[in-house]
Symmetry: C2
Subunit: 252 residues, 2 copies
């Protein structure tokens, strides 16, 4: 195994992906879309692990499957070995293990939920009512709702969540359908779930699972959306451009 | 830098990408499309370097820009460090440096042009006339035409190439347009180039630059196409599945 044989690469973003692989591509596509570039060389450098054999995050949270932590650490170490200067994870539910990953991998990380909540704060009135579509694990753990107090300190955001029936009939089957490549089925189910949140007063909806924005957008949801994947992609582009500008300034 | 801290991953495909980044995404998408899978865990594990700061391959071949070899080796070593068992490069022109890359990186590699020529052999009659759309460097170096004798030994394929004017007016500006994200302009120019090859008797056309199949397919080209990106993706899926099956058989 050869290491330490490559030069430093300023602004190299490590992506701990594969959860799922289509969501990782959607994230990479959104990094490209968020980058002002007219040639290859102006784009964000990324090193991507898309090793989808990581155990299912939602099952692990429910206690019905093995923990994904060791497999995620394994993938993270591959991008660390490749010289990344930042780690991001295009999977909301995986952020249940964010603390362990950050302390073990020893690199800066951007948190996807914070990126999404920053955009919620921009579009949301002082007492806005915001829908959230996500996995059971993300909803039950409070990954979004408990984090609100930090990032939305001055707002009184009211979360509007899917009911138990809406989760089991629509949201979770939709996510499984997208993972199986049945995009049209996934979209139809998510439109039902978004419609129910809208009827209960949601003014916008957070797409809080990376499979969801693959098939649902503001048009098909029929209301404004906050796409957590796109929010993280925009932060990644900003980080990488800052690092590369700093490097350029430091080079005489 | 941490290394040797992750487990072996059977069938892990290393992708030396970023040439350009959109073409790398197209390649990854085609790997997904070629994989029979209904859950994340059945997909091909990949480790991708998409560091688009690699010097332009076509300029280097013309002698008007620096060689991309050192930068490509640098990227290749990152995926070697991450534990890949195979290296592939979703950029046709980069294959001008295939020999140096293979001998320096010390891993098996699949050759994109061979993958495409295998598919040409399947659709082409004994004296078929095949068009080729590619960069000047790929055309002038004979990357496809000189390789024919090995892989199409029993066929008398006649290559039908764009004229100098067609390259400079249509093909090269189309590739630059796709790299700049101007997909509709790229498609229009390539349709003109494909139409000219068809008029000179081409029965099918090889899309021999990874920017081209992003915008051109059999429908828009108005004739059968051999997509080198998709051909390589299919070979990658086969390699990875074989490796993982072998590993599964070896595990008691």
């Amino acid at each position: 195994m050869q290491t330490d044989t490559y030069r430093a690469c300023a602004g190299l973003v490590g992506v701990l992906g594969g959860m799922g692989p289509l969501a990782t591509l959607d994230f990479l596509r959104k990094i490209l879309a968020a980058t002002p570039a007219s040639s290859d060389q102006q784009h964000v450098p990324v090193l991507v692990s898309s090793i989808p054999q990581i155990p299912d995050r939602a099952s692990a949270f429910r206690g019905t499957g093995p923990s994904p932590l060791n497999a995620m650490l394994d993938c993270g170490r591959r991008v660390v070995a490749g010289g990344a200067g930042l780690i991001v994870i295009p999977c909301n539910t995986a952020h249940l293990w964010f603390g362990e990953l950050r302390s073990e991998l020893g690199l800066p990380m951007l948190h996807m939920v914070d990126a999404a909540l920053d955009e919620v704060a921009q579009i949301c009135g002082p007492e806005g009512r915001i829908g959230l579509l996500a996995t059971d694990a993300t909803l039950d753990s409070g990954l979004y709702c408990k984090r609100t107090s930090n990032t939305l300190a001055r707002r009184k955001v009211q979360w509007c969540l899917p009911t138990e029936a809406e989760r089991s009939d629509w949201v979770m089957p939709a996510i499984a359908a997208v993972k199986a490549g049945e995009l049209s089925t996934g979209r139809t189910l998510l439109q039902l779930a978004a419609g129910a949140l809208r009827q209960r007063g949601a003014q916008a909806v957070v797409l809080g699972c990376t499979e969801i924005p693959i098939v649902l957008d503001a048009d098909s949801a029929n209301m404004p959306v906050v796409d957590a994947t796109a929010a993280l992609a925009r932060q990644v582009v900003r980080w990488s451009m800052e690092q590369r500008n700093r490097r350029a300034l430091a080079t005489p």
